[in-house]
Structures are given as structure tokens and as C-alpha cells.
């Protein structure tokens, strides 16, 4: 069917030989590519259904009765594939980009049709052949979900095909829309999904701020947004995006033209409001959200530490969780009355110096033997260290000291005495959040100051090329050990906070998954970039925590995310300057060269002389 739609060759009609001055138009949208993207989309959709994601996700309602997360995934994929397939190919040098047109729409429709068709075939196939003994999630329920739960399956499947085709077409059309409209549409829909998906957060916020009316207007009691609420969110968000896209520059200009004092008052007023909101936010959001944010903060601390080791110094450490465990276990042994062997029962603040010392020592112990190893060996050896640490803690050998698999219980909460000596006990998630935020701020400040310091520059030089750095006078041994120790110390603070927050620790909390999660955080955020770590921690630890019912798919998503980031955006979402430069050196130098040539040509043209070859 789709083949029949592909009679035209992918190249445009042959360009007649044109005189030099004429503009040559680059080839436009390729239908062959659209077909391929459709096939890929269809296969992904089938996988999505086969691993049980469709069934699991459909329990989460986004717009009550209208849209759930499962169908969102089902619809989003053709849309994105349509968008990708209909993206105008970049024009090569000497060509002018073709104008977007009906070909975009057709390509998008084709993508949607092909992927829908594949999923439909799969649903029919499942009816005939029972593959459930092997693929445990392929149930009749799944087949009926694919048919949109319609009693008449043929109708349902036709509906499916229609939906995917239309969504693919919309994806294809997005390229044709004017920029402001496109950004309004995409932004509005994104916000509807966000507000619907993270209803816990928004609900908690509105209830905390005593705005029950808004809460009950937006959200239905059965979960998800009301249709009216969704429309409201869409209109507000879309108009904001529209204004920003069309008027943003004008507003920015007006702000810059303000007299200095006025501008300053706007700036500081905004900052003060932000700080105030942040200060009352933990109490406002309530225990559940605060607990999620606690975890985000702890991962942020680890991310900041690993960012120094991997992002700045370029030492890929896959056993980073070992330092986290050192922090947690040292805290537990020193503060808990239930510690099996030694139980000095220190307070948290007295224990912290020992924790840092232990972590620094651990950094030294891990760092020294690996000083001379090259990058990929280092990764595996540190992975080995992480596993050794976990296995030793679990083993009977260390059981008398660290409690083995039973762990250490009864770790007391942190206590601070205020001015009159009355104790403040940090025993609830919102209270812990203040401490976590404080430590995160300190860690962020430290790594920000370290980045451009002497040792920070040494790390970056070492990352680019060890031999050259050494030749330039960087002491490699010192720089590597410093990186390991700093990273270890930051992770151990995270571990200490984790131990006091949870109150009991077990060796199984410290497995390879933690190391990988932190690695994903810094890679998605952008290696060497502090804002990247912050964003990464929120997205990669916060979102899975909020959507805990879909934990099964968290690590699959991490894996796919790692691959996609490495293939398409290795510098991360918020790249650091240096790393981006290293990765795109060639392109940048080419761009600079092209610019140079063009400038020379222009100058030559202006002076009336023939351009130099």
C-alpha cells in the first residue's frame, strides 16, 4: 500500500544546467525516507506494546476519560517520526533550501499510515497466533487496547490507522507552520501533558497554597485533568509561548532600554521573590514531593561529584556508588546505637568530619592503583571496585562490623540547636530538604569555583590529552588524585544525608544501578556543566520518583536515553563550553573557514576584483 504511494523518485526533477548566477534548489523531502521512518515507528510501537508499556501506562490518566499515558505514547511516536521524516534536509553548500510544502504533509501522513499499519498487522497476528507463552505481556487485553477498546475490532483498528495517519500528518505539517504558531501549539500541548502527568506536584502545590478551587477545577477526583482544565492549561500556555515567540524580542529590548535603577529593581525583585518561594516551597509541597526532592538533591550531590571526575577530569568512574556507600556506612556506624561492632553514637555534625576523611581515604585507595590506566580500562576497574565494595559489605567476613545483608538500623535524624538551645530535629522530608538544598548549594558553589581554578584547568587539560597536559607542566598524579578525592567527598556527603534521611541502610541500596543513574544524569545534562547536573537530576531522578508505578521501564528508558544522547547530542542538553568545542571542533573550524572564505569573496566582490581561487 505504502509502496504504491512511493512512485516518485526521491530526487527532485532533474535540474537543467543553469548559469552560475542562478539559484540551485536543494533536494526536498524524500518519500523513501518517510517510508523508512514509518517502518521504524511501527516497530517501536510494536515493541512498546509487547513489553507491556501500553497496558501499564494506560493506568495513568492525563485528561480524565479522554487521554491516558499509554495512548499518549501511541500517538506521540507517529507525530515525532512524522516530524523527523518531514524535516527539511539541510542544504549543501551552493544550494538554497527548498521551501516546505505539500510534500511535508504527504510524508507525514505516510509515516503515520505505515506505522499504524504495522501495529494493526501485529494486533491481527496476535489474534491468530498465540505468542503469549513467550512474550508474557501479549495478552488479549493488549490487543483490545490497540483497537481502542472498541467492541467491534475492525472499527477500532480502522480508528487506530486513522489516528496514527492524522498524527503523522500533523507531525509533517509542523515544519510548514510559522514559528510562533508551531511553538504555541507544541508548548501548549507539552504543558497539558506535564500538568496532567505530574498532577501530584501541581495538586500538592495548589492545596498547600490554599487554592483548592484551582485544584478542583483542573483535576478530576478520578485522576487526570478535567477536559475544561486541560483546555485552560492549553490556552494559557499556548498564548504565553505565542507571545514569547512573536513579541519576545520587543519585550527584551524594552527591558534593556529601562533606566538602570528600574532594571535593577526588576532584577532583584524577581530574585527575592524566587528565594522566598523556594524557602517556603518544602512546607508548601508536603511530605511526598519533599521526599522526592530530597532524593533529587542527593543525586544532585553525587552528580556534582561525578561531574568533576568524569566531566572535568575525564576519568570514567563506573563504581562511583562505592563512595556513596562509604559516606552512608561511616555515618551509620558512627551515629547509630544499633551499629553491630563499634557504636560511638556521635551526633551527625561530629561524625561528618570523619565521613569526609573516610571518603577522601577511599578516593585515594581507588585512585592510586588506577593512576596509570587508560580510559576504558579505568571504567571497568572502577566498576569492579564498586562491586567489590558491595560484595564485601554483604559477606560474612564484614558482617560483624557492618551488619551484612541486614544492614544498620536506627540511624538518628540530624539535630541542630538554635540560638536558645532548643533542638530542631530534621526528621520529616520537608525539613531534610532544607539541609539537602544547603549542601547542594555548597557543592554547586565549590564545583563552580573549582572549574575555572588552577586545578580545574589542569583537569580539563588532562581530559583533552594527558600527555600534552603533562608536557605543559600539569602534575597528572596530583590532578587525578585530587579529582578522585573531591568526587568521593561530594558523594559521601550525599551518602551521609541518605543514611540519616532513610534511617537504616542495606548493602543492596548501593548497587551498580546507582552509579549508572548518576552517569546518565551528567551525560544527559552535559558533561562538565553544573546547570546540566541540576536539570539532569530533576529530570532523571525526580520524574521516575514521581512516576513510581512505572519503575519497570525506568532503566530501559535510561539505556535508550544514553544511546540517543551519545548518537545525537554527546555534549548534553546544557553543554559546557569546553566539551562542546572538543566534540564539534571539526564543524566549528569548517564553519569558521567558510565564513572566512565568504568574507573574502564579499570583499573581493566589493572592490570589483575577481575572487581569489
Amino acid at each position: 500500500m505504502a509502496e504504491a504511494m512511493n512512485p516518485t523518485p526521491s530526487t527532485p526533477p532533474a535540474v537543467p544546467p543553469v548559469p552560475d548566477e542562478a539559484v540551485r534548489v536543494a533536494p526536498g523531502i524524500s518519500y523513501r525516507k518517510a517510508f523508512r521512518y514509518g517502518m521504524i515507528g511501527g516497530l517501536v510501537l510494536i515493541t512498546f506494546a509487547t513489553i507491556g508499556a501500553l497496558q501499564t501506562f494506560q493506568t495513568k490518566s492525563i485528561i480524565n476519560g479522554e487521554l491516558n499515558l499509554g495512548y499518549l505514547g501511541l500517538g506521540l511516536l507517529p507525530l515525532i517520526m512524522g516530524l523527523l521524516a518531514a524535516r527539511m534536509p539541510e542544504a549543501k553548500e551552493g544550494y538554497v533550501q527548498a521551501k516546505p510544502g505539500p510534500r511535508n504533509l504527504i510524508a507525514g501522513l505516510m509515516v503515520g499510515f505505515v506505522s499504524g499499519e504495522l501495529l494493526l498487522d501485529f494486533a491481527l497476528f496476535v489474534q491468530v497466533v498465540n505468542i503469549r507463552p513467550v512474550f508474557i505481556n501479549v495478552s488479549p487485553q493488549m490487543a483490545s487496547l490497540i483497537a481502542f477498546g472498541q467492541a467491534n475490532q475492525a472499527n477500532g483498528l480502522a480508528l487506530l490507522l486513522l489516528t496514527t495517519t492524522i498524527l503523522g500528518g500533523i507531525g509533517g505539517l509542523l515544519e510548514v507552520l510559522p514559528k510562533a504558531w508551531r511553538s504555541a501549539l507544541v508548548g501548549g500541548l507539552t504543558w497539558v501533558v506535564m500538568v496532567g502527568l505530574f498532577d501530584v506536584v501541581f495538586s500538592a502545590f495548589f492545596r498547600g497554597a490554599k487554592l483548592q478551587q484551582i485544584d478542583s477545577f483542573l483535576y478530576s477526583a478520578a485522576g487526570g485533568l478535567h477536559l475544561n482544565g486541560a483546555m485552560l492549561v492549553f490556552i494559557v500556555a499556548a498564548s504565553l509561548y505565542f507571545v514569547r515567540e512573536s513579541q519576545g524580542k520587543a519585550i527584551g529590548r524594552r527591558y534593556r532600554q529601562l533606566p538602570d535603577p528600574a532594571r535593577r529593581s526588576v532584577k532583584y525583585g524577581g530574585l527575592a521573590a524566587l528565594v522566598l518561594i523556594l524557602l517556603i516551597l518544602p512546607e508548601l509541597l508536603g511530605p511526598f514531593i519533599s521526599e522526592v526532592l530530597d532524593l533529587v538533591g542527593i543525586y544532585m550531590l553525587m552528580g556534582l561529584g561525578l561531574n568533576i571526575v568524569v566531566g572535568l577530569a575525564g576519568l570514567l568512574d563506573l563504581g562511583y556508588v562505592a563512595f556513596f556507600a562509604v559516606g552512608a556506612y561511616t555515618t551509620a556506624v558512627l551515629t547509630s546505637p544499633a551499629s553491630p561492632a563499634v557504636a560511638p553514637e556521635l551526633t551527625f555534625w561530629l561524625a561528618i568530619p570523619f565521613v569526609l576523611l573516610a571518603a577522601a581515604l577511599a578516593g585515594l585507595i581507588v585512585g592510586t592503583p588506577v593512576l596509570r590506566m587508560r580510559g576504558d580500562y579505568l571504567a571497568i576497574v572502577t566498576l569492579g571496585f564498586g562491586e567489590i565494595a558491595r560484595l564485601l559489605v554483604t559477606s560474612a567476613w564484614f558482617k560483624p562490623l557492618l551488619g551484612g545483608a541486614q544492614g544498620i538500623l536506627k540511624i538518628p535524624a540530624i539535630v541542630i540547636h538554635d540560638f536558645v538551645g532548643a533542638p530542631i530535629v530534621f526528621n520529616t522530608p520537608p525539613k531534610v530538604l532544607y539541609l539537602v538544598a544547603l549542601f547542594c548549594l555548597i557543592a554547586a558553589y565549590v564545583s563552580w569555583r573549582l572549574k575555572d581554578s588552577r586545578v580545574g584547568r589542569a583537569w580539563m587539560a588532562m581530559r583533552e590529552d594527558e600527555d600534552v597536559a603533562e608536557a605543559m607542566g600539569v602534575n597528572i598524579v596530583e590532578a587525578k588524585l585530587k579529582a578522585f578525592i573531591t568526587g568521593a567527598v561530594l558523594a559521601s556527603i550525599g551518602g551521609a544525608l541518605f543514611a540519616t534521611k532513610i534511617g537504616s541502610i542495606f548493602p543492596n541500596s548501593f548497587n551498580i544501578i546507582v552509579s549508572i543513574t548518576v552517569l546518565v544524569i551528567i551525560i544527559v545534562g552535559g558533561m562538565g556543566s553544573i546547570p546540566g547536573v541540576v536539570v539532569g537530576a530533576f529530570v532523571l531522578e525526580g520524574v521516575p520518583q514521581l512516576l513510581r508505578e512505572f519503575q519497570d521501564f525506568q532503566f530501559l528508558a535510561y539505556g535508550i536515553l544514553l544511546i540517543i544522547m551519545m548518537l545525537y547530542r554527546p555534549e548534553g542538553l546544557i553543554p559546557s563550553r569546553e566539551w562542546a568545542r572538543e566534540l564539534h571542533e571539526e564543524e566549528m573550524s569548517q564553519d569558521a573557514w567558510l565564513k572566512d572564505v565568504k568574507q573574502q569573496d564579499d570583499e573581493a566582490a566589493e572592490s570589483g576584483a575577481p575572487a581569489a581561487d
Binding site: T47, T50, I51, G52, A53, V134, F135, I136, N137, G314, L316, L318, T368, P369, V370, L371, R372, M373, G375, D376, Y377, A379, I380, V381, L383, G384, F385, E387, I388, L391, L392, T394, S395, A396, W397, G473, N475, I476, V477, E478, I512, I516, L519, I523, D552, F553, F555, L556, Y558, G559, I560, L561, L562, I563, M566, L567, P570, E582, L583
Partner: protein
């Protein structure tokens, strides 16, 4: 400038010494610990000769499997210069798909009626699955990264490993699956005073056949020659008319097939398969590859067998001698410690790396 030179030299001297001294210290400590543990353990006479023999056989069988998986690491490292972290999961995928076929054969009654034929079918299935998975991963994830900085393919392969593990979890469920029993390979054989489990004998034989096949393939076929040529120098090989991309695919397929065969053997010995089953064997096989000298094909086998023996004898011989309780829990620790020590003291491995200079 002139003045600061001697100081710089002095600093260089001290720093070389710092690392040197640490490494020497570590060396001495290791030797003393190993010798002391071994002496105690042997002189105490807790374990009888037949127990030692059992441990050796177990280590050999185990090591043979590590060696087979290690071949994949070595082949890929040889030609692309990066560690394919997902290789352990490629091994798992063959084992997992093999299980479903074995289960079906068993329920048809074919499994115990025609054991040889069934094993051959499963072997073919798991080898084909693993090679297919390896090639798909290569095409999707590694091909676009041919000229990227070193760490990027490594991180991608970590992502591939996670994706595979949790994709298999989603597809086939998280529960551990048990291969059906095969009555004809239960029980023991007595060969030259060694009391060998039939499965272990089968595994040792199978590993040997696979190794010989691989060695023949790499040394004596056209495809093998092109693999060696690409490992030596990609660009020159391309100029000489070798199809580099095709060779890379063949290499991944070959490494995957070996991992798939190892998957069947592993399943015969341990019976169970689940979605994380590839992780630890994968890392140990990597250790084996490094131990033998990465990029070196006979080295993978030597490294595998050495690691297998160390892992089965090590806890009893050394750790028990040091008075550590329940040393068997720590056999993985021994393996990881071996990896670390090898990389510190002899990063080129027992037989030496076969790498061109610029990769080292």
C-alpha cells in the same frame, strides 16, 4: 625559566617514585597475602585431594565459558578499539531465546528422546540469536560513532547493555527460567582419576571445538584475513580492497556467535537464565580478555581458563587460609581483584596485546 628547570625535574622524579613505590608496595602485599593464605590452607589439610580435583575441573569448565565470551570482547576491541559493554547481554540473549526452544522441545518430548539433536538445535538457535543481536546493536548504536572520542562508544555500549537487559525483562518477564533437565547428561564420568560431571565434560569438549573453529576461521578464511587486516589498520585495509564495514559486521556476528555458544554451555551448567544473567559473566569474561591480552585470540582462552581456575581455587586456597569466613561468597571479589591487579601490573596481559601502536 632556566631556574625552574631543575625543580621541575626533581618534582618529576618524586612523582614517578610515588606511583612506583605504591605499586611495589601493592605487589609485595599481594604476594605475601597469597603465599601466606596458600601455605595455611594447604598445611591445614581441610580439603582432600579429590576436592581439589573437583575445584580444578569446575574452574576449567567455568574458565572455558569465560574464554568463549571473552573472544567477543577481544575481537571487537581488536578492530574497533573499544569495550563492548553490552557483550554480556548479547550472551544472555542467546541463552534466553535458547530456553524457549528448549522448553518447547521438552514439552514435545523431543528433548530427552534425541539429546544430541536437541542440543545442536539449541546451539544453532542461541548462536544465531546472539549474533543477530550483536549485529543489530552494532548497526544502530556503534556505526555512527566510528570516529568519536574513545569514551563515547563506551558510554553508548553501557546504554546498549541497559536497554537489552530491560528490553528482555519487558519482553519475557523478570522471573528466572529453568532449562529442562536432560537425563542423558546427568551423572559423572571417571577419566584418569578425575571425577567429572557429564555436563562439565560436554562443556569442555564444546568449548574446545568452538575455539578450534574460531582459530581456523580467523587464520585460514578470507573473512578471517580481512578481520586481521582491519584490526591492523582500518584505512590501509580499506585501500587494499577490504570491505571494512562488512568485516566489522562479520566480527560482531562471530563474537556474538561465540557468546551464544557460551550461553548454551552456561545454561547446561547452571540451568537458570534471567534478564541480568549476562552482567557478571560479561565482566568476568572481560577480565579474562584483559588477562590474556586484549586483541589476542588465543589469549582470550588462556585468560579465561586462568580466571576460571583462580576463581574456583582462589577463595579456598587463599581466603580460607587467611581465616576469612565462608570464602565462597567472595569468588566474585577474587575475580574483580584479579582484574585490578592484572591491569596494574601487566596491562598487556599474559600473552601480550595484539594492537597497533596508536591504540595502546
Amino acid at each position: 625559566m632556566q631556574k625552574s628547570l631543575p625543580q621541575a625535574e626533581k618534582r618529576g622524579f618524586i612523582q614517578a617514585n610515588f606511583v612506583g613505590i605504591m605499586i611495589w608496595l601493592l605487589r609485595i602485599v599481594t604476594v605475601v597475602i597469597v603465599a601466606w593464605g596458600a601455605y595455611n590452607s594447604i598445611s591445614s589439610g581441610t580439603y582432600s585431594l579429590s576436592q581439589w580435583k573437583d575445584l580444578v575441573i569446575f574452574g576449567l569448565a567455568q574458565g572455558g565459558m569465560y574464554g568463549l565470551i571473552a573472544l567477543g570482547y577481544t575481537l571487537i576491541y581488536g578492530i574497533l578499539g573499544f569495550i563492548n559493554f553490552a557483550h554480556g547481554d548479547i550472551f544472555m540473549s542467546g541463552m534466553m531465546v535458547g530456553y524457549f526452544v528448549a522448553d518447547d522441545l521438552n514439552s514435545l518430548g523431543f528433548w530427552n528422546a534425541h539429546p544430541v539433536f536437541s542440543l545442536l538445535i539449541i546451539l544453532a538457535v542461541s548462536m544465531a540469536t546472539s549474533s543477530l543481536v550483536a549485529v543489530i546493536i552494532e548497526r544502530i548504536a556503534y556505526k555512527p560513532l566510528r570516529n568519536a572520542p574513545r569514551l563515547i562508544p563506551l558510554i553508548t555500549s553501557i546504554g546498549a547493555s541497559f536497554s537489552l537487559e530491560y528490553l528482555f525483562k519487558g519482553l519475557f518477564g523478570a522471573a528466572a527460567k529453568s532449562y529442562p533437565d536432560m537425563t542423558s547428561i546427568d551423572g559423572f564420568l571417571n577419566i584418569g582419576g578425575f571425577h567429572i560431571l557429564k555436563t562439565q565434560a560436554l562443556v569442555l569438549g564444546g568449548v574446545l571445538v568452538m575455539m578450534v573453529f574460531l582459530y581456523w576461521f580467523v587464520e585460514h578464511t578470507r573473512a578471517g584475513k580481512s578481520i586481521r587486516a582491519v584490526a591492523e589498520d582500518k584505512e590501509i585495509a580499506a585501500l587494499m580492497g577490504v570491505n571494512v564495514e562488512r568485516t566489522i559486521i562479520i566480527t560482531f556476528a562471530l563474537g556474538g556467535a561465540m557468546a551464544g555458544a557460551a550461553g548454551l554451555f552456561y545454561a547446561l551448567v547452571f540451568n537458570q537464565v534471567y534478564f541480568l544473567a549476562g552482567f557478571v559473566p560479561g565482566i568476568k569474561a572481560f577480565t579474562a580478555a584483559v588477562l590474556g591480552g586484549i586483541g589476542n585470540i588465543p589469549g582470550a582462552m588462556v585468560g579465561g581458563v586462568t580466571l576460571g581456575l583462580l576463581e574456583s581455587l582462589g577463595p579456598v586456597l587463599i581466603l580460607a587460609g587467611l581465616g576469612i569466613p565462608s570464602p565462597h561468597q567472595l569468588s566474585d571479589v577474587v575475580a574483580f581483584a584479579v582484574l585490578t591487579l592484572v591491569l596494574i601490573f601487566r596491562p598487556t596481559g599474559l600473552l601480550g596485546e595484539r594492537l597497533s601502536q596508536e591504540k595502546a
